[in-house]
């Protein structure tokens, strides 16, 4: 850089000298492909030292001779050469050089590094790709863009959290999320479920705090996948590190831009529902049955139902009266209108305003963003406001100061979902086709005329003659309940950089990340699961304070070996606090949210939870650059953390050898080749506050359905049966990787490939203790696990010349995980409460699906009963593996003049998924799968062993489990083992292939920036973009996106149970650059 400045100064001086020489003056403007002026472009006469640089408006003027060849060069862009003829104006458009753009990556400490000198892998996601992806949530926009980075949103709810898994699973009970470093400082990416959510199997989707960031503020984003690059962050880095830097202003004129985005969102896949069979059982209509195994609707008489209008009735708010049904005649069905009562076209508007600029000594970047989103589920929304101000000041030649500050405010209401009778899809998808959900609230009058107001009417209580609807009417779920969250967050990162002598830099960097999350859970009287009403408020706050003192020096050891040494010290303090208060049993039937809803204090519940952690680390990196071909980095961190006994050392080494430099073999085919190898250790911190054995209250003792509860005997304590563990150590992941980066055909094709293996030891689990030792369990470093995998990224610029540009890019990653030891613990349930659960089991990959299945013979065929049907296994077995075999993203970018096209596909191969929604709906008989109506052509036996003679018209399907054709009818689906709840189900038939391909992004943009437009409007450009997000999904599972996860942001996955669906979108945006 210094060299360049000197060079430029010389050039400038020469340029001035040249004024006095003979020749012609050429003037012109240098712009990028979107007609933005490029300041600072070198314009040099080839073979001479004559040249200049462009000014802030991209303009230059230079005295040349005809026949001179002008070379226009600028970092990050492809050089252009133009021979001077008779012209006096030469305007040049420089195309971006993608391979060069990626040259600089940001290290885990926030420093720039040359990618070609790196031994470790870093996936770079260009911020413009993230912005263009159409994802309102930052994390989701990384999806499919980097190898072995699995990004899995919980569902399509606005603001829903997302699980990021880098190179598979690295812990069992700890957090699986990577560490997020923004501008050199760790920030929170917590997904806090809290007490009000009622566990992860139900409740609502919760947010990922990383999604608070505004994607438009991001200058660069890198994913450090391996242990070596992350080792400096010690016990927080085992899941990888995502390094983000936010934008700065530049010494430039004031740049102002506005961008407006509109998105139209829809459900991306829908379960096919049946419309031919009514509510009831055994082919008989009943208006109070849970199931739709009733009569054949076309056989009904038609016309109006016959009612008993002599007594009780329900009166909806619009005056419609419902009387007890005597005879069901109507053939009307309501599948679509019921659907429309719960779902809508979602949409969002996003406004982004940015301003940046500055002088030589000071610059700023300011942004203001507002997102207003309405979800596809009626009543769900997400609003977010982001403000950011980044400043840099060069105070003098040895001191500079920067401060990056942002404020985020968001509000979201989420709809109850999943395993939860107050949840949306549970009520909606179980609703019989012949029940109309519309009139969901009103007054019930009993036979004596007594009125019960604000009663919920649901399909099993069509008269609303009980407070308990059993399941919510989806109209009630979306309109009467509230589960809101309001977040206020500040992030401030001040930094001093002192350069006392020219080879040494001292950096003092602080960071504060603070947020509060105020949640409300409100269920009016008559809500399922909360029939007497429930109102809870939960206040969560998290503070993360970070400080780094870093010294960086450069030394030449010999003429061929130089050393960059970095040493530093970090202290990091995190505090989470939550307060929870609940009022149940309302005395007043109102939706007003006040504690006065219940004036008797003993009905309320109060709880709080605090989590305190602190760590401090000393760290050092010694980076040797040898013989202009070999880079070796040694790094190490020694860390003391509050939840760990003693100190731990995290060493790492990486090595990069540039073959093209070593053997001087670079040419037009092979532009660049590098081999790299790394080894390193990283950790996962133990859960906080687990050293001591505690005293525990609120327990009960039972031997078999006979509990005695201490709280009913005046309260008291016991020694916690979980034995404290004062010797906790971090989980240690040791990883090595080997890889190569190659660029071919004049840097047009870039390929990077890596093979890695890691082993994680001391994984923390709740280990079963010998009961006679006095304790049941102990949180202990007891498990081990392994991952190995291969990953590859490529980018091929086919054309990038003039008006044309075409490139393809892609990535591939596979990861094989194996749980190798649980110290005798048979299984660890990662998804408590699910009948098909995701578990850790020795000899299997983490997350395997586990539940009762069908007995098999030694040859793998089913061990059938006398009727030819499968029989249940005696105990749960491994049913499937939700981990994909491999994942891949492949994309295309093209431009022609001002038009640009981007396409990105994502493919996930293999793995399994248990959409238990479909399984349970078999029991309820509401899906098309259960509504096949046909005449048998052979004698068939059903699950109960009843013979159904040929020629009978039946509802069901013919299946052959290996013992000849059998009939799957109500006996199989509803009360057999082929659909339903609990452990007594043949869940092996619920397991589906999770392979999917999706069109993640299809976008087309047009840039309006021709000079006459610019002159007329005084705008530099307007960019119009249309993006289709998640437009197509090809999957073998009908109606459910295999990417959703009932358990949200969690280490367990592969499960769905009436989980809110995912979405697809069409976005339009206009960006105006002043």
């Amino acid at each position: 850089m210094k060299y360049n400045l000197l060079y430029l100064t010389v050039l400038l001086l020469l340029g001035i000298v040249d004024v006095f020489a003979q020749g012609q003056t050429i003037t012109g403007k240098v712009t990028d492909t979107s007609n933005q002026p490029l300041p600072g472009v070198n314009v040099v006469v080839q073979g001479t030292t004559t040249g200049t640089t462009t000014d802030f408006d991209g303009k230059y003027s230079l005295l040349v001779n005809p026949g001179d060849v002008l070379v226009f060069s600028f970092i990050g862009y492809q050089n252009q050469t133009i021979t001077v003829g008779s012209q006096t104006t030469i305007n040049v458009q420089l195309a971006e050089d993608v391979s060069q753009l990626e040259e600089i990556v940001i290290s885990a400490l926030g420093f720039e590094q040359k990618r070609d000198e790196l031994g470790s892998t870093a996936s770079v996601v260009p911020p413009e790709d993230m912005v263009r992806s159409g994802e309102a949530m930052l994390i989701n926009s990384i999806g499919a863009r980097a190898s072995n980075v699995q990004v899995q949103r919980s569902n399509g709810d606005p603001g829903a959290g997302t699980t990021i898994r880098i190179r598979g699973a690295n812990t069992i009970s700890g957090s699986s999320n990577p560490l997020i470093i923004v501008d050199g400082v760790p920030i929170s990416n917590t997904t806090y479920y809290g007490l009000g959510n009622g566990g992860r199997s139900g409740g609502t989707s919760q947010q990922s705090r990383l999604n608070d960031l505004n994607p438009n503020d991001i200058e660069s984003m890198q994913i450090l996948k391996g242990a070596s690059a992350a080792a400096l962050w010690g016990s927080r880095a085992a899941n990888g590190v995502i390094v983000i830097t936010t934008k700065n202003g530049s010494a430039n004129k004031l740049n102002i831009s506005y961008k407006g985005t509109y998105s139209l969102d829809q459900i991306n896949t829908r379960i096919p529902m049946q419309t031919t069979f009514g509510q009831g059982r055994n082919g008989v209509y009943s208006p109070t049955r849970a199931e739709s195994w009733g009569d054949y609707i076309p056989d009904r008489a038609g016309g109006n139902d016959v009612f008993d209008e002599s007594g009780r009735y329900f009166e909806a708010t619009n005056g419609t009266r419902y009387y007890p049904i005597v005879t069901k005649n109507s053939r009307e069905t309501y599948v679509d209108s019921n659907w429309d009562g719960a779902f809508q076209d979602g949409q969002f508007f996003q406004h982004d305003l940015t301003a940046s600029g500055g002088s030589k000594d000071a610059n700023f970047f300011f942004s203001l963003a507002r997102l207003d989103q309405e979800g596809i589920i009626i009543g769900s929304n997400y609003d977010r406001t982001n403000v950011r101000l980044n400043n840099n000041f060069h105070i003098n030649n040895w001191l500079s100061f920067s401060n990056k500050a942002s404020y985020i405010n968001s509000y979201s209401n989420r709809i109850q979902q999943s395993s939860n009778t107050a949840g949306l899809l549970l009520g909606l998808l179980r609703t019989p086709p012949d029940f109309d959900n519309t009139d969901y609230i009103g007054t019930y009058y009993d036979n004596s005329g007594q009125a019960f107001t604000k009663r919920q009417r649901s399909y099993r209580r069509y008269m609303a003659d009980s407070y308990n609807p059993t399941y919510n009417n989806p109209m009630w779920t979306t309109r009467e309940q509230e589960s809101s969250t309001r977040v206020n967050r500040f992030m401030v990162t001040p930094q001093f950089t002192v350069t006392p002598i020219d080879w040494l830099q001292i950096i003092l960097r602080g960071g504060v990340d603070y947020y509060t999350d105020a949640r409300v859970y409100f269920f009016p009287i008559g809500s399922a699961s909360n029939i007497s009403g429930s109102f809870a408020e939960e206040g969560i706050s998290e503070t993360q304070i970070n400080f780094d003192g870093i010294a960086k020096g450069n030394f030449n050891i010999t003429s061929n070996i130089s050393l960059q040494a970095t040493i530093g010290w970090n202290i990091n303090d995190r505090k989470t606090r939550s307060n929870y208060a609940l009022i149940e049993g309302f005395q007043v039937n109102t939706k007003k949210q006040t504690t006065d809803l219940n004036t008797s204090r003993d009905a309320s519940e109060v709880a709080n939870n605090k989590i305190f952690r602190r760590s401090n680390r000393g760290y050092a990196i010694f980076g040797f650059d040898m013989f202009d071909q070999l880079n070796v980095n040694f790094s190490g961190a020694i860390e003391a953390a509050s939840s760990v006994k003693g100190s731990y050392f995290y060493p790492a080494v990486d090595l990069a050898w540039r073959l093209t430099d070593a053997f001087d073999i670079g040419g037009s085919v092979l532009s660049f080749a590098k081999l790299r190898a790394t080894w390193g250790k990283v950790g996962v911190q133990p859960g906080a506050h687990r050293f001591e054995t505690l005293a525990e209250g609120g327990f009960s003792y039972s031997t078999y359905s006979d509990p005695l509860s201490i709280s009913q005997f005046g309260g008291g304590f016991r020694l916690d049966n979980n034995l404290g563990n004062p010797d906790l150590e971090p989980e240690i992941k040791t990883e090595w990787e080997l890889g190569a980066d190659v660029r071919l055909f004049e840097e047009k094709l870039a390929i990077g490939a890596t093979y890695y293996q890691n082993r994680i030891t001391g994984i923390l689990i709740n280990l079963d203790l010998t009961p006679s030792s006095g304790y049941s369990t102990q949180y202990a470093n007891a498990a081990t696990m392994e991952n190995k995998g291969f990953e590859m990224d490529f980018d091929y610029t086919i054309i990038n010349k003039g008006d044309w540009g075409l490139g393809i890019f892609g990535n591939y990653g596979d990861n094989n995980n194996l749980v190798t030891d649980l110290q005798g613990t048979e299984t660890i349930d990662l998804t408590p409460g699910a009948s098909v659960s995701s578990r850790a089991i020795v000899g299997h990959p983490l997350g395997v699906l586990y539940g009762t299945g069908s007995k098999t013979n030694p040859d793998g065929s089913f061990d059938l009963d006398a009727n030819g049907f499968p029989q249940l296994t005696d105990r749960p077995v491994v049913l499937g593996d939700p981990n994909p075999d491999w994942r891949s993203g492949i994309g295309l970018r093209a431009r022609w003049k001002s038009l640009a096209l981007n396409v990105l596909f994502e493919h996930s191969q293999g793995g399994e998924f248990s959409p238990r929604t479909l399984w349970v709906l078999r029991r309820f008989g509401t899906t098309q799968e259960t509504a096949n109506y046909f005449t048998t052509t052979e004698d068939l036996v059903n699950f109960d062993g009843d013979l159904i003679p040929a020629g009978t018209t039946v509802r069901g399907n013919v299946e052959n489990f290996g013992g000849g054709n059998v009939l799957l009818d109500e006996t199989w689906y509803r009360h057999g083992i082929g659909g339903g709840f609990g452990d007594n189900q043949a869940y092996n038939f619920s397991i589906k292939d999770a392979t999917f391909t999706r069109l993640r992004e299809l976008s087309l943009s047009y840039t309006l920036n021709f000079p006459r437009f610019q002159e007329a409007t005084k705008l530099s450009s307007i960019v119009f973009t249309a993006t289709g997000r998640n437009l197509f999904l090809w999957s073998k599972i009908e109606g459910i996106d295999p990417e959703i996860n009932q358990y949200g942001v969690s280490s367990g996955f592969g499960l769905d149970y009436f989980t809110n669906p995912s979405t697809r979108s069409l976005l339009f945006s206009v960006a105006i650059n002043f």
Binding site: A565, G646, E692, A695, F699, T703, Y704, P771, G774
Partner: protein, 472 residues
């Protein structure tokens, strides 16, 4: 190189990163540590664990294996037919070893000077470990509750009984020197040292009896429970509308999802008491069991149908006056035959029953009669000796039968059938096997699955028909 050296020194200094900066932060801010909790607050929890372990699942199983109860459906019908897995002992085992013992030892540790609490805690520990030894045979004891020992060894059954008796000696010493005080946390005796000392002596007698050390049992029982009011019992409480958490344990299971699973049915005990039954009938000219028959009947079809021994607020005896008197009657007769003293002990119990105190108020209006027996009743041809056996044996047979009946919902019957099998088969109450294919009456309950899986010193599960040490 000099700069590198100085850098390395700075580096070394920084690397001495401070553990002191993070000390103390990991102390749990949300939960109370045991040091902060008063000793008495640990007592109720330990007593609840003891109550459920003494009167819960394994007690019901022992009842089915003693001709008291019948398992009708689901799990209890399988276990009724002796089909039982080690999973059934998991809860009870953990109640003894995790629920009772560590907590009572913790109390003793923090208030060693409080003789009332240390005495109570020693009784509870001896009660828990003694019952465990009695049910399972060899069990861990000498090495338990020690953080240094991950896999406590299994001690011989007789050693455990002996240790329990010794601990009860200490308990009696403590309690005799203690002053009673109001102790609401003590849900058995509310802090009455005298009653605790009596219960301790009866427990000693119980364990001596199981080891067939009859003279020692007799002398221990002399200080044992002196009135029915002094029984150690679990006393249900609370709101009648709330079905679980504090009610009679048997009532709770029928009030919950186990309705229909288990009851008395036509068990041998019911036949024995039933005045209309003529094949096996314990009613005679001096005895009318009508009230007790009705009081003992457990109707499995619904909890609310039961107003007797499992009524929701009906206490469950753990150590009883009847047990103490009948131990004395048996041991006295074993030493001196049908002596006045032996008759006296049996009649003392019969006299108490004749007041109606053996059934609750709902059944005191029903007929009952327990006239004193005299020696002639046990002589050949007497009303308790129609088969003309030796008078001493006839008397002992009646004492054992009375234990069999009075021990309803206790382990007395299950303990006796195993104890008497070798030397006194003629005294055993001849209740039949529940399935004809069984090799004999069960001799023990299976070990806890959890203990077998985690303790490297655990033996192979011997099975329920394997005789434990003291009964070999």
């Amino acid at each position: 190189m000099k700069t590198i050296k100085s850098l390395l020194i700075i580096f070394g200094l920084i690397f001495a990163s401070c553990e002191s900066l993070v000390e103390g932060i990991n102390d749990n801010p949300n939960k109370i540590t045991p040091q902060d909790v008063e000793a008495e607050l640990f007592l109720t929890g330990a007593m609840l664990a003891n109550s459920v372990a003494q009167g819960g699942h394994l007690n019901r199983i022992a009842g089915m294996w003693s001709g008291h109860l019948t398992g009708f459906t689901s799990l209890y019908s399988n276990i009724y037919g002796y089909d039982i897995s080690t999973a059934e002992s998991v809860g009870t085992w953990s109640r003894y070893y995790v629920g009772v013992i560590p907590n009572v030892r913790h109390i003793r540790e923090i208030v060693p000077q409080d003789m009332l609490l240390t005495g109570i805690c020693k009784v509870l520990e001896a009660h828990a470990i003694g019952t465990a030894a009695s049910l399972f045979g060899d069990v861990p004891y000498s090495e338990i509750d020690n953080p240094e020992i991950a896999d406590p060894k299994f001690d011989r059954q007789s050693e455990v009984f002996t240790a329990a008796i010794a601990l009860l000696d200490q308990a009696i010493t403590d309690l005799n020197s203690a002053t009673s005080r109001s102790l609401p946390a003590d849900i058995y005796y509310e802090g009455d040292a005298g009653k605790w000392a009596e219960a301790a002596a009866t427990l000693q007698a119980r364990y001596y009896l199981q080891m067939k050390m009859y003279p020692q049992a007799l002398s221990a029982a002399a200080n044992g429970i002196s009135s029915n009011d002094n029984n150690m019992k679990f006393i249900p409480r609370g709101d009648p509308e709330i079905a679980s958490g504090d009610k009679n344990l048997f009532w709770q299971i029928l009030a919950g999802s186990r309705q229909g699973d288990i009851g008395t049915g036509n068990s041998y005990l019911m036949q024995l008491l039933d005045p209309s039954n003529t094949t096996v009938d314990r009613n005679n000219a001096k005895t009318d069991e009508t009230a007790r028959f009705m009081y003992y009947t457990i109707d499995e079809t619904s909890a609310s149908a039961n107003q007797g021994i499992i009524e929701q607020f009906e206490p469950q005896n753990l150590v009883s006056y009847a047990e103490n008197l009948l131990i004395m009657a048996e041991c006295e007769a074993r030493a001196n035959g049908v002596s006045a003293a032996a008759l006296g002990y049996l009649n003392e119990w019969r006299q108490f029953m004749n007041t109606g105190g053996h059934v609750n108020a709902n059944f005191q209006g029903e007929s009952y009669l327990y006239a004193d027996y005299d020696a002639a009743d046990f002589a050949a041809g007497g009303i308790e000796n129609p088969d003309n056996i030796a008078a001493d044996r006839a008397f002992l047979r009646e004492v054992i039968e009375e234990r069999y009946v009075s021990g309803m919902q206790m382990y007395m019957a299950f303990n006796d059938v195993r104890r008497l099998a070798k030397d006194d088969p003629d005294l055993i109450v001849p209740f039949p096997l529940n399935t004809g294919t069984a090799p004999g009456q069960p001799q023990r309950l299976p070990y806890s699955d959890d203990e077998l899986n985690t303790n490297n010193n655990a033996p192979e599960e011997p099975g329920i028909f394997s005789t434990t040490e003291v009964n070999q």
